[in-house]
Amino acid sequence: MSVLDTTDVLDVAGYAAAVRRSLADLGPEQVDDLTDDLEADLAEALDDERHVAHGRGVLEQFGPPVEYAAELRAAAGLAPAAAPTGRVRLFGDPVEDTRRLGRWALGRLRAQAWWAPVEAFLIALRPAWWLLRGWVVYQLVALVLGVSGWLPRNLAAFLVLVGAVVLSVQYGRGEWFRSRRVTWLAVTANVVAVLAVLPLLAGAHDRVAASESVYADYTAGRLSGGGGTQTIIQDKAVDGVVVDGMQVSNLFVYDAEGNPLSDVQVYDDRGRPVRTTFDNGFDQYWFPEATEPWSFVSRVDSDGRARWNVYPLQGAPTSEFTYDDDGLQVLPAGSSATTPPWPFAKAPALDAAPEATIGAEGPAPTPTSTP
């Protein structure tokens, strides 16, 4: 027998499927009996006939599948097909077709020398699939009930898991769900399990990864924090000024003698204004020992731009603000922004040595120009 090209095999498969559809009323077992080798026979006949009648397709060679099927069943001594009930089936029974396709594919695979050990290996794995299938059914039930996690956390859920595994294994062993009335249920559950297993495994993996990362953060925080300092992990760097893990709302600057300075402009090493607030005056800030929250106002530079990097920020208790026509929070005429209470009236004076430096965040007390 010569090797057939792919299109012939496809044609043959389609023809064989059509023949089987015409025999469908006989029931699957008889159809199988009658058409076991049909593809192989058709392919071989076609190949053989080609020597004399080159280029003939399956249809020209064997005639309509319906007639082929009728001949087959008549010769086999079976009753002719029941008269069509008026319902024309265009695509046949998809379940039955899929099953046959699977059986045919298995037949092709079994013809390969390498397939036998592979199949033996897969068969050895079947109990693992039964267990997994039980777990998948449990996961689906848990999903409906709103429970999550790899494994049950209480007795009821545990019993559901055990029940699902027992059902799955018994079905796999061919012990249960054999009667025609319930077999559809088992087949449906099997298909659902096959479709659901990968998404469920992926979801469970994500959940485990998430809890592992929380645990890792917890241990890292405990190990590095030592004295109960909370480690805040954020995706994005916080904008603004942070001291001891806490975002600060205002800066107070003292000169070398420890005297308070006002109207100090602060920039970073790249000339960017250092801001502590980003709400443009809308938010409210509490100070230690304050009785009511404050809101800040910006300063205006010589170019008329609002400036929020002039410290200490000035403001007033939020209750004093009103809204202007544009909906902006402004101080009414008559009241003016003041400097919030200083943390202390005077800071310790620096040593007069020339190498005395200024703290990283402290600007030089000399006037700076806008870059």
Binding site: L34, A40, R110, A111
Partner: protein, 109 residues
């Protein structure tokens, strides 16, 4: 004359005779029938006949794996099949003789 109709009555006999020579699978039996001169039999008729003879217990069946193609189901004759073949051969020869004599007289008359 349409020999297809004639064949229908004796296809069992023809198939049994072919398989009794040597075991064969579906298309193999078709090919040997054709080689023997029975051209007008449909493939499906032969497969159906093989199946029916197997179901009635006249043939045995076994699957032979193939290295290059799909596995094939071979049919072989058994004791019951041989008995059936002998009985039908006898019937056929008697019938053929009768028909021969009948047709001969018709022609001669």
């Amino acid at each position: 004359m349409d020999t297809t109709q004639l064949l229908k009555g004796v296809l069992d006999l023809a198939v049994l005779a072919v398989v009794s020579d040597e075991d064969g699978y579906g298309y193999d039996v078709v090919r040997r029938l054709r080689a023997a001169g029975i051209e007008e039999v449909g493939d499906a008729s032969v497969y159906g006949t093989l199946r029916r003879l197997y179901s009635s217990g006249a043939l045995t069946s076994y699957v032979v794996p193939s290295d290059e193609g799909p596995h094939r189901k071979y049919y072989g004759i058994n004791a019951q099949g041989r008995a059936m073949l002998e009985a039908q051969r006898k019937d056929w020869q008697e019938f053929a003789g009768t028909m021969g004599r009948l047709l001969k007289t018709e022609v001669v008359r």
